[in-house]
Symmetry: C2
Subunit: 357 residues, 2 copies
C-alpha cells in the first residue's frame, strides 16, 4: 500500500507538468513498475497527443510482462482523438493497474475497469482519490455538470476593499502576490472580466507562460476602441453582449449576444456559450459586480482571496464582492480552505458550498 501511494503520488507530479495545456482533456501521469523498480513513465502533454499510459508503455525499454501500471485516472476505453488505452494495456502484458480515481466521463466511468478485469488484469483503486479529483477539478466539473469550472480571484485589503475611497486600486497586494495570481491564469482556459474593469484599468490579462482567452462581459458593447484587449491578440478575445445591444463588428473579436434577464447577462448562459466554444475553465478577475453575479447564481466553484494585511476603511470604498448581497442562510461557506502567506500577503483558497446537506 505504501509503495502504491508512493507511485501514485509520482503520477500526480508527472501529470502536473502539463498544467494548463491539456484542455479539454484531464491531467494524467503514468508510471510503470516491475520488480519494485520504476521502468518507465509518461504524461499527457496536450489534447491530440498520446495519453499518459501509452507514453509510458512506449517509453519502456524492457518487456512489460508482469508489470504494474500506476495512473491517476481510469484509462480510457473509447476512441477519441487516439485509440482506447485499455486495449494497449491489455496487449502489453501488464498484470496490475493501480488508479487513484474513476473517470467521471460517463462513457468511460468504470467500464475500463471491467474490461481490464475481464482480461485478467488486477485492478486497485481508491488511494488518494480525493487528491486525484482535486488535480482534475476542472475536468470532473466539466464531465459532471457540462459547464466550465469557475474560479473567482480577488485581491483585497483585510477589511474587504478592492480600492480606496478615492478609487485607487493599484496596488492593494504586493508584487509577489500579483505575480502568483498571473501564474494562476496559466492554469485556465480563459480570464473573464466585466467591461468596467477594461474601461478603468485597461488590463492585458495575460498569463505568465500563455495567452489565455480573454472574455469581457460587455452588455452594451462599451469596450474602448483603444483598449489593449482590442489591439492585441484579437483572436483570443471573446465579448459577451446583450441581445438588445446594437450588433456591431469589433474587428476579429468574437462577439456573442445573450438574452438579458433582470437587466443582466445570466451567468448560466455565459458559461453555456463559453463551454460550447470549448472553454473548460474560467478565471474570473473582477470587478466586484461581476464576482457577485457568480456567487449569487451559485456558479463560482473555487475562490482565491488574496488579502493584503492593511486597512483601507471607507464607507464608499469599493467592496470586493458587491451585487445585491446574500442572506446568512444563502451565503456560500468556503470548504476545503487553505491559508498561506505569499510574501506579506495572505492567500485564502477554497470551494464555495451553496447548499445544505
Amino acid at each position: 500500500m505504501k509503495r502504491d501511494i508512493y507511485f501514485l503520488e509520482k503520477t500526480f507530479k508527472l501529470a502536473k507538468n502539463a498544467e494548463g495545456c491539456t484542455s479539454p482533456n484531464p491531467l494524467v501521469g503514468a508510471v510503470i513498475v516491475k520488480n519494485n523498480k520504476e521502468i518507465s513513465c509518461g504524461f499527457h502533454k496536450k489534447s491530440g497527443n498520446l495519453h499518459a499510459e501509452i507514453e509510458a508503455i512506449n517509453n519502456a525499454k524492457v518487456s512489460l510482462r508482469g508489470a504494474t501500471l500506476y495512473v491517476n485516472l481510469e484509462p480510457c476505453c473509447h476512441f477519441g482523438k487516439t485509440p482506447p488505452c485499455v486495449d494497449k494495456i491489455i496487449k502489453s502484458g501488464i498484470k496490475r493497474v493501480v488508479m487513484a480515481s474513476l473517470d467521471p466521463n460517463p462513457i468511460v466511468h468504470g467500464k475500463s475497469i471491467s474490461k481490464l478485469k475481464k482480461a485478467g488484469i488486477k485492478v486497485s483503486i481508491g488511494y488518494l482519490s480525493e487528491k486525484a479529483r482535486r488535480l482534475n477539478e476542472v475536468f470532473f466539473k466539466n464531465m459532471q455538470v457540462k459547464r466550465p469550472f469557475v474560479v473567482v480571484k480577488l485581491a483585497q485589503s483585510l477589511d474587504g476593499k478592492i480600492a480606496t475611497a478615492n478609487g485607487v486600486s493599484k496596488w492593494i497586494t504586493e508584487e509577489r502576490a500579483r505575480k502568483f495570481a498571473r501564474k494562476l491564469r496559466d492554469k485556465y482556459d480563459c480570464v473573464l472580466v466585466g467591461v468596467n474593469t477594461v474601461i478603468k484599468d485597461n488590463p492585458r490579462l495575460n498569463g505568465f507562460k500563455k495567452i489565455p482567452y480573454k472574455v469581457v462581459i460587455d452588455p452594451q458593447l462599451r469596450i474602448p476602441k483603444d483598449s489593449y484587449l482590442l489591439k492585441n491578440n484579437l483572436q483570443k478575445l471573446i465579448i459577451l453582449a446583450s441581445a438588445k445591444a446594437k450588433k456591431k463588428s469589433l474587428k476579429e473579436a468574437k462577439v456573442f449576444f445573450i438574452k438579458e434577464k433582470k437587466g443582466k447577462l445570466p451567468v448560466k448562459e455565459i458559461l453555456s456559450v463559453l463551454y460550447q466554444h470549448g472553454i473548460m475553465s474560467v478565471f474570473v478577475e473582477g470587478g466586484s459586480e461581476t464576482a457577485a453575479n457568480f456567487f449569487e447564481e451559485k456558479l463560482a466553484d473555487k475562490v482565491h482571496f488574496f488579502i493584503a494585511p492593511k486597512i483601507l476603511g471607507g464607507k464608499d470604498a469599493l467592496t470586493s464582492i458587491s451585487g445585491q448581497g446574500l442572506s446568512l442562510r444563502d451565503s456560500p461557506k468556503i470548504r476545503g480552505m487553505t491559508i498561506e502567506k505569499i510574501g506579506q500577503d495572505i492567500l485564502i483558497t477554497g470551494y464555495p458550498y451553496y447548499g445544505k446537506k
Copy 2:
C-alpha cells in the same frame, strides 16, 4: 543561557496567571533558582498586592544566599503602593538577577539595574525582550505614550462585511469564535462601542470572567433607557458625550462631555479622558464607524480580525471599517501578524503600523 531562557519562560507563564487583573500594573512573574534548582516562585496578583519578586522571596523556604532571581520585568526601585523591590532583593542575599526587559516606566528604567549592580549583584538582561514587551504591551504603551492601549476587534465575512445587505449581523462568526472574543474582553479594562451598536444590538459587553468597564461613545446621549447597559452594573458604565449635548443625568452612569471636532468626538480626547479615569486598555468592539475613527486617527494599537469563511456580498452591506477611508499611502499595514483557525473561523491578529521608517 538555555537555562536562563527556560526560567524566564516560566516567569511569563506565572505572570499570565493574573492576566486582566493587575491594571494599571504590569504582569510580572518571578522564579528563584539555587544550585540549578527552583526553590521558589511568585507572581503579581493585582494592584496593591505584593510584587512578584517579593512573593517569590517570601515563598522561599531556604536561604537565598547565592541564589538567582528570574523576572520578566526590571524590578522596581520606587515607593508605590508597596516599597521598592530592589532593596528587598539586595537584602535577601540573591547574587544574580536575570530579567527579560527593562521597565519602560521612566522612574524605574535602568535605575534598578544600577542599584543592583552597585550592591554587587550580577545582572543579565536581553533574552526574550521582545516577548516580554508583548506580554506587557498594555503597560509599555501606557508608560511610553501616556494613554490606554487600544485593541480593535472585528468579526466579518471573507469579503469584509459585518452584516448582510438586509442588515442582519447575528451571527457572522461561529459560537467558538464568539466565545474566544468574549474571553479577550477579560484581558482589558474596558469594552468600547458606538451608541448605534447599543441601539441596534443592545449588547451586554461582559467578559467571560469579569465585568469590564463599558464605554459608549454617544455624542447626543441617545442611549435607550431600557438598554441592558443602563439597567445593569451602572457603576461600570461610562458614557462619552458631546460638549454640545444637553447635559442630563443618566442615573449612576458616569458621563463625560468632550468637545467635538469636525462633528466627532476626537479619539485622542476620548482616550485621554479614559486614561485619567484609570483605564489602561480599551477593547473596541464596533461598529464600523467607531472602528474607522481609531484607524483614521492612528490610535489603534492592535487588531483582532475574526473572519468567517463565507461570502455575503452586497453593495450596500455594512463593511467592517467604514469612515472616510484612507489612501494606500496612509493605510496602516499589519505587522507581527499571526493567523490561526478558531473552529471554522479565521483569526488574524497584528499591530497596525502607521508611519514610514
